[in-house]
């Protein structure tokens, strides 16, 4: 299982989370979809699509919450026949981040993912550089940022 980070402070908490929760795939990204770390993805193209889809789902549900005049949903969980998908936001010194977790129902469960996600959120909060909230990502910068992140994550 390969875990790689664009920002080094995310690596240790993520490695621990993957092991404890038995997660198959994990992405940690900004709410704009900029990837900070990944685990388990073999191809850059999968990271790109997962990041885009995860960020879009979070944006949609945040908008629904806003229209209902309530705080953003803490987490979303979808359970299929063999896999579960868990998507949740977390607060760090780097700003609000989003974690997308895919787990096999054979080896993990929603309970285990939730349990160790709390730990991941606390450890990322503690490890994050303070006062470095990410700037608004401009469309022009997005592609370059993404390309740089993927190079770091896949070493090519």
């Amino acid at each position: 299982m390969t875990t790689r980070a664009v920002e080094a402070w995310t690596l240790e908490p993520l490695v621990k989370f993957v092991k404890e929760a038995g997660a198959r795939l994990v992405l940690v990204m900004t709410s704009a979809g900029q990837v900070l770390a990944q685990s388990g993805f073999a191809r850059a193209v999968d990271v790109m699509s997962a990041a885009a889809l995860g960020a879009a789902i979070m944006a949609s549900t945040e908008e629904i919450a806003r229209q209902l005049n309530q705080a953003p949903f803490a987490a979303l969980n979808h359970q299929g026949e063999r896999h579960g998908i868990f998507l949740a936001g977390l607060a760090t010194g780097r700003g609000r981040l989003v974690a997308l977790v895919v787990y096999d129902l054979d080896v993990s469960s929603l309970g285990l993912v939730q349990l160790f996600f709390e730990q991941l959120a606390a450890e990322l909060q503690a490890a994050s550089p303070k006062g470095s909230v990410s700037k608004q990502v401009l469309a022009a910068d997005f592609e370059r940022d993404l390309s740089d992140s993927l190079k770091t994550l896949f070493g090519r």
Partner: protein
């Protein structure tokens, strides 16, 4: 080899739930009959979806077929079921070498060496890790055809019980209801048979490392301290799992006629015998 395949096929036909499919799949793979090996592995996996060795076999066949992405998934799954599975660790190391990630390959080989310190194939691959990918690929390649015998041995699904009669000598059920494993789930002694008399040693051994890991984690995270035993009543029998030493697990299985309290006493005696035997082994 053809005779092997014939005999193993016949055994599997007689008992489709047995683990003979692991040997049959491997024999077919060695003969280059990859499609037949593939069918055997898939059918075996359908019956034993949580058996790490079954995922390992399937992954080796996929690697032979150059389907590396799915082979990766299968070895990954084997490791989730049995985190110290040497075959899966070697398989993943091989795949990482293939894509040029020597660091990850070495990390997996180091984990394999921790799980199997006496495996010369792993040691050789690790030693070569800084010497060049070609040699390393060959040493770690679980799909290689003409490997040294030592590498093949290291890919065996589980070590054969060692001097099993001596470990539990004199104890009731030593040959069919007592099992001693090392921390990676490899059999050190004893054997298990189910109520139909079928040998289920390897299948149970494959799952027990995961049970003990989860028992230890549960006790620790709930603030209960170190775990000392896990007793369970089944519909057809009772089991008692304990850890006679830091790196060993002992399972005692009896039918439902044996009360749980008596089972605990049998387990204590067996644990004492296992501890003595482990100390003798040094």
């Amino acid at each position: 080899m053809a005779d092997d395949v014939k005999a193993l096929s016949s055994q599997l036909a007689q008992d489709p739930d047995s683990l003979v499919f692991l040997r049959l799949g491997e024999a077919l793979r060695h003969k280059g009959q990859l499609d037949a090996a593939y069918r055997v592995a898939v059918t075996g996996l359908e019956r034993h979806p949580h058996l790490a060795d079954a995922h390992d076999l399937y992954a080796r066949i996929l690697a032979d077929k150059h389907d590396y992405e799915r082979a990766f998934d299968e070895w990954d799954m084997a490791l989730r079921i049995a985190p110290a599975h040497v075959g899966a660790l070697k398989g993943l190391a091989f795949l990482y070498f293939k894509i040029g990630d020597v660091q990850q390959a070495a990390a997996h080989l180091e984990a394999a060496q921790q799980a199997a310190p006496d495996d010369p194939g792993v040691a050789q691959a690790l030693a070569l890790a800084r010497g060049g990918a070609t040699e390393v690929e060959r040493a770690a390649d679980p799909a290689a055809e003409a490997e040294p015998a030592t590498v093949q041995e290291s890919l065996a699904p589980a070590a054969q019980p060692l001097e099993e009669a001596r470990v539990f000598a004199g104890l009731e059920g030593a040959e069919e209801g007592l099992l001693l494993l090392d921390g990676s789930g490899r059999v050190l002694g004893g054997a298990l048979k189910d109520s139909a008399g079928q040998d289920v040693t390897d299948a149970v051994a494959a799952y027990l490392a995961g049970v003990s890991h989860e028992a230890a984690r549960t006790a620790k995270l709930l603030g209960l301290g170190d775990w000392s035993g896990l007793a369970a009543e089944g519909k057809l029998g009772h089991v008692h799992l304990t850890s006679p030493s830091a790196d060993a697990l002992l399972l005692v299985v009896r039918d439902r006629a044996v009360p749980m309290g008596r089972l605990a006493i049998i387990a204590q005696r067996a644990a004492a015998a296992a501890r003595r035997w482990l100390e003798e082994q040094g």
